[in-house]
Amino acid sequence: MIERRPGLDILSHVILLIGVSIVAFPLYLTFVASTQTAEQISRSIPMSMMPGNNFFESYRLALFGGETSLGGKIPAVWPMMQTSLISALVISIGKIAISLLSAFALVYFRFPFRNLFFWMIFITLMLPVEVRISPTYEVVANLGLLNTYAGLTVPLIASATATFLLRQFFLTVPDELVEAARMDGAGPMRFFKDILLPLSATNIAALFVIQFIYGWNQYLWPLLVTTNEDMYPVVMGIKRMLAGEAYTEWNVVMATAILAMLPPALVVILMQKWFVKGLVDTEK
């Protein structure tokens, strides 16, 4: 603190509190709606801002599906959450695994076409899957990967953020470690496993947080490659609930929204330190 200005301090807190409440308001409203019944939400104008007593029923319907009091059919969200979890894990772990290996090769070996490979990977940084949806879709369809976990995840592993972050990190690892390992007779894979991997632990954790959220929140890609209800991730399921029926059961939609938000939000809040590190490192 440079000088005492009580007036400014109060102003700062007021602005921050306003900011926090605006950011939190949609979440509060979503939670309140998920504890009411569909009639309560649609009948009262505007809807009540106080939590209702339909909490368990809304979440039971959302998780396990079934008939609603209005006769609509709700698909079960539980299997969708499993799909989301599996794809998020495959995307994040797959990305980190192949990136560790290729960054290791790029930094610790000299081989023909190394620079070419480097640039080929580098270019992929620039093009998100959104700009190449239709051709990528065709490739996946040609390979017969529609409605499979492979089709859902492998094309998203193609980006190179993790490779670059790990490459940057490997370059800062002191050369003395390699020399020492070689002097003790360790081969490259031994060095990789016993020295490089443990040193990269925090980077791997940070990358994992970012990539898990990325994988969990994918929407456009699953929208294209899955046509089978068993393969829908939860963020897609929620959109279909909006579009499916003329009459939207808002309490169930909102319960689903909370369920879809919970895993990545928990990851961000509980692993906050790594999350911030991952975010700053992957972009710089």
Binding site: I2, R5, S12, H13, L16, G19, V20, V23, A24, P26, L29, A33, S44, I45, P46, I98, S99, L101, S102, F104, A105, Y108, F109, F111, F117, M120, I121, M126, L127, E130, V131, R132, I133, S134, P135, T136, E138, L143, V154, P155, I157, A160, L171, V178, N217, L220, V235, K239, L242, M254, A260, M261, P264, V268, I269, F275, V276, L279, V280, E283
Partner: protein
């Protein structure tokens, strides 16, 4: 930067780099090539006959008023998202950097929307503005503002901008906060001793020193508005009313997968690729030069 000490092996590096190269080649270079190739073809919707048409798909696109409108919509949308997102986050970051107590708590409470999927963010904001139960729409109507994002293009645009900014605030906030914390305290103390007010100090010292962060975030936000907001639009407005919120990515999807115009969609993909590459080059050029204080 290169390593001085390396391992020697004729085959191991190839084996190590193979998985990534396979994924990159199959799911990146092949489709990108396909896009280029398809963008010069026309194909009927059932994939029956394919014809080489040269630049016709591109000519058709640029002759198409709706595509040019989509460009304008996208530009307008990105400017709104980037400018309002950056200014709100900067304000919050400066405040959070000021307060001695509770900064950590504020940070936690501000960063969680990063974890929210864009489509869920869209649903959340739609719910606040939907009729009849939407709380905010009701409030606006009660003060005499007739909110209707289904009919009014400006309202629809406002809705997707708000949802997009809401989701991006946490990201901008974290980077601004990191940028603010890296500014040497001594500079600000010196200015304070010379009698500069906090307002004056912000605009003459803090803001200029923050410019690399701001510029970096500007590019990131434009890219975000261009590509990551697809799900928000698909959940809230579907590009409507009319085509008033159909940004370029939404149009690529719509033309390719709903209207089944693969050639046109591929040509749009190629144009999008050119835009991203241009943005990335701009980013590297300027950030590299200006990042040293």
């Amino acid at each position: 930067m290169e390593k001085r000490v390396r391992f020697k092996s004729a085959w191991l590096p190839w084996l190590l780099i193979a998985p990534q190269m396979v994924v990159v080649l199959v799911f990146f270079f092949w489709p990108a090539g396909q896009a280029l190739y398809q963008s010069v073809l026309t194909e009927d919707a059932f994939g029956g006959s394919v014809q080489f048409v040269g630049m016709e798909n591109f000519d058709r696109l640029f002759g198409d008023a709706s595509y040019l409108t989509s460009f304008k919509t996208t530009a307008f949308f990105s400017i709104l998202v980037a400018s309002s997102g950056l200014s709100i986050s900067l304000l919050l970051a400066v405040m959070a950097n000021r307060v001695a107590r509770g900064a950590g708590l504020y940070k936690t409470l501000l960063i969680w929307p990063y974890a929210v999927a864009p489509v869920v963010a869209g649903v959340l904001w739609l719910f606040m503005f939907a009729s009849p139960m939407g709380v905010v729409a009701y409030f606006l109507r009660s003060i005499g503002f007739d909110w209707n994002h289904l009919l009014n293009g400006n309202h629809a645009m406002a809705l997707i901008v708000m949802a997009s900014v809401w989701k991006q605030i946490s990201y901008n906030f974290l980077f601004f906060l990191a940028g603010l914390q890296s500014i040497p305290k001594s500079l600000i103390e010196a200015a304070a001793i010379d009698g500069a007010s906090p307002w004056h100090r912000f605009w003459t010292i803090v803001f200029p020193l923050l410019s690399p962060t701001t510029f970096f975030l500007l590019v990131i936000n434009v890219v975000y508005a261009f590509f990551d907001t697809f799900a928000i639009i698909d959940a809230t407005t579907h590009g409507g009313p009319g085509k008033e919120t159909a940004i370029l990515v939404y149009k690529v999807y719509y033309d390719g997968f709903k209207a089944l115009d693969m050639g046109g969609s591929a040509a749009q993909s190629v144009i999008l690729m050119v835009i991203v590459v241009a943005l990335t080059v701009v980013q590297f050029r300027f950030v590299e030069k200006k990042v040293q204080y």
